[in-house]
Symmetry: C2
Subunit: 332 residues, 2 copies
């Protein structure tokens, strides 16, 4: 008996079991087959350490059961959470995730979308940074964007209502007596950021508040760096693009000997797990990020079942008031 060097195929199993490849296939896929033959096939497969080739199956089936996911930054906990929701939902339907990180680069994003599309049945683009008209070109296959408006294009969209969330947090701050609010802006290409900034502008106008926008980013370091500009502006409350940014700012304020919320109130977006454990616990707009992932899969599944059937899901946010926001300090 000679060792098979190359990986055993269904042909090898068939030969060893003295049956046809069709029978092997049937046994492997649980079709009705004579018990004796089942036994022989099973034995041969085990003997040869046979493992079916997924690629060949996919080619034959015309589908890979792979879903491509593109995120701007794998390190951001809020994308991890989305990924988790997505992995969970797709997993129950036997689909797996092909994950790529565009590192906030539009060029990478473009290249990766092209590449992922070759291997996947559908694509989920998380907070894509590419302009809408360019995204439209990829809408040839099943496609869902998260946290990104898609206009009337033939793709689906799942996201949260950032506008309402921001409106709510601004109202909360206004109620506490704050008249000058700072905003630590997120990545310039981020649609969520634009949406939050727009809501802030609208709310501030309606409530006659002053607003100072400082460009930050999406990480704690970005928030930390933004402190000086914020202090110079003389705001009494700050809303950060996300919790990570808020955390960086919080640390900076503490280093300056400023107390939160006595001297400055602070709120974030996301409600990442650590938010509640900070000192003070962070007031934040909770986003159902994991649920966005699950909804994205549902939308994609609809497209998979019936091409061209796209929809939009916008999930509500919830203001979680904790210790980092308080009454505005008395002003002279």
């Amino acid at each position: 008996m000679y060792e098979v060097i190359r990986k055993p195929t269904i042909v090898d199993v068939a030969r060893a079991a003295q049956v046809s490849t069709a029978t092997v296939s049937r046994v492997l896929n649980g079709r009705r087959v004579d018990p004796e033959l089942v036994r022989r096939v099973r034995a041969a497969a085990a003997e040869l350490h046979y493992r079916p080739n997924g690629t060949a199956r996919s080619l034959q089936a015309g589908a890979t059961r792979l879903i491509g996911v593109l995120v701007p930054d794998l390190g951001n906990p809020s994308f991890s959470e989305l990924l988790r929701g997505l992995a969970d939902a797709t997993g129950t339907h036997g689909h797996r995730l092909l994950v790529a990180d565009s590192k906030e680069s539009q060029d990478e994003e473009r290249a990766l979308i092209h590449e992922l599309a070759l291997h996947c049945d559908g694509l989920v683009l998380c907070s894509p940074r590419l302009p809408l008209e360019e995204l439209a070109r990829f809408a040839v296959g099943p496609l869902v964007c998260t946290n990104r408006e898609v206009g009337g294009l033939s793709m689906s969209s799942a996201g949260v209502d950032s506008y309402a969330g921001m409106t709510e947090v601004v109202r909360h701050l206004a109620t506490l007596g704050h008249r000058h609010i700072g905003y630590l802006a997120g990545p310039p290409d981020s649609w969520s950021n634009a949406e939050r900034q727009r809501a802030l502008g609208d709310s501030a106008a309606a409530l006659r508040l002053q607003v100072t926008v400082v460009q930050a980013g999406s990480t704690s370091d970005d928030g930390h760096r933004a402190l000086p500009a914020l202090l110079a502006a003389g705001v009494t409350a700050v809303v950060a693009f996300n919790d990570l940014v808020a955390i960086g700012l919080l640390a900076g304020l503490r280093e300056q000997g400023l107390d939160v919320p006595r001297d400055v109130s602070l709120a974030g977006f996301d409600d990442i797990p650590v938010a509640q454990f900070l000192a003070p616990p962070l007031t934040t707009v909770r986003l159902p990020t994991e649920e966005v992932g699950r909804q994205a899969w549902e939308l994609l599944r609809e497209q998979l079942q019936q091409a061209g059937r796209h929809g939009t899901v916008r999930l509500p946010t919830e203001l979680v008031v904790r210790g980092s926001t308080g009454p505005a300090p008395d002003t002279v």
Copy 2:
């Protein structure tokens, strides 16, 4: 001109360009071809919106350029970081990541490994929870484990030197005068946890320190819940399985009116990004997690190039002393 309903294949392009499929293939893959034909093929491909089928390519090539990655919890920032390193490294070699989350379940882990293996050229198992002997059965293809000893088995291993890290942090605490140290243990199946606990035991014995181990887990909630047991034991310093757990405990201590580090010193593992922004900033054992991901790819790549060629990489840790550890309180 009728619309092609099914996706256009290389045959459609060949027909439209009046050339053979071989020529189309050559053009697509940048082989030498008559410029005029190149033009025609390009035009036809564009006209038909042709996209090559990645599955067919993979089948023909005998490789998918897909790497399966299994993590116990996608929500844990330290796995995100590893994923990032891995995505980065594999990406530069044209490989993509097939990601699955076992949710800390051994059954899921087993099932997912089987499934991933069908579609991938190689596997990276992050902190696998399955017993070693079972893992060995999967070592038929290229395989790398992270943060897991693999004995003499035919697989590679990339990880950090948890033992040395724990030894260092214990010495640090002993130097500060602590004589009774608490350990918030991680997931029971985690090899890293076992390693850290072993190091703690050894160090404590050498330094004649008392140790109290409290079972926690890997999340902040786990750390938070462990507080009562720890207080009852009367420790003056605590080492947590990871930073997340430490954060939960830190919040709990604060709620009890206890000051860190005046009343209790606290240290974690990982040095996740928020660690430095906490109040007080967290003393922790920094693990080069992203680098572990990169090294895992290098080890896998070696196996891909030459079957059976496995190795082990153990990266050094670094104690980062911040504000959460201080002198032991005077004891009566």
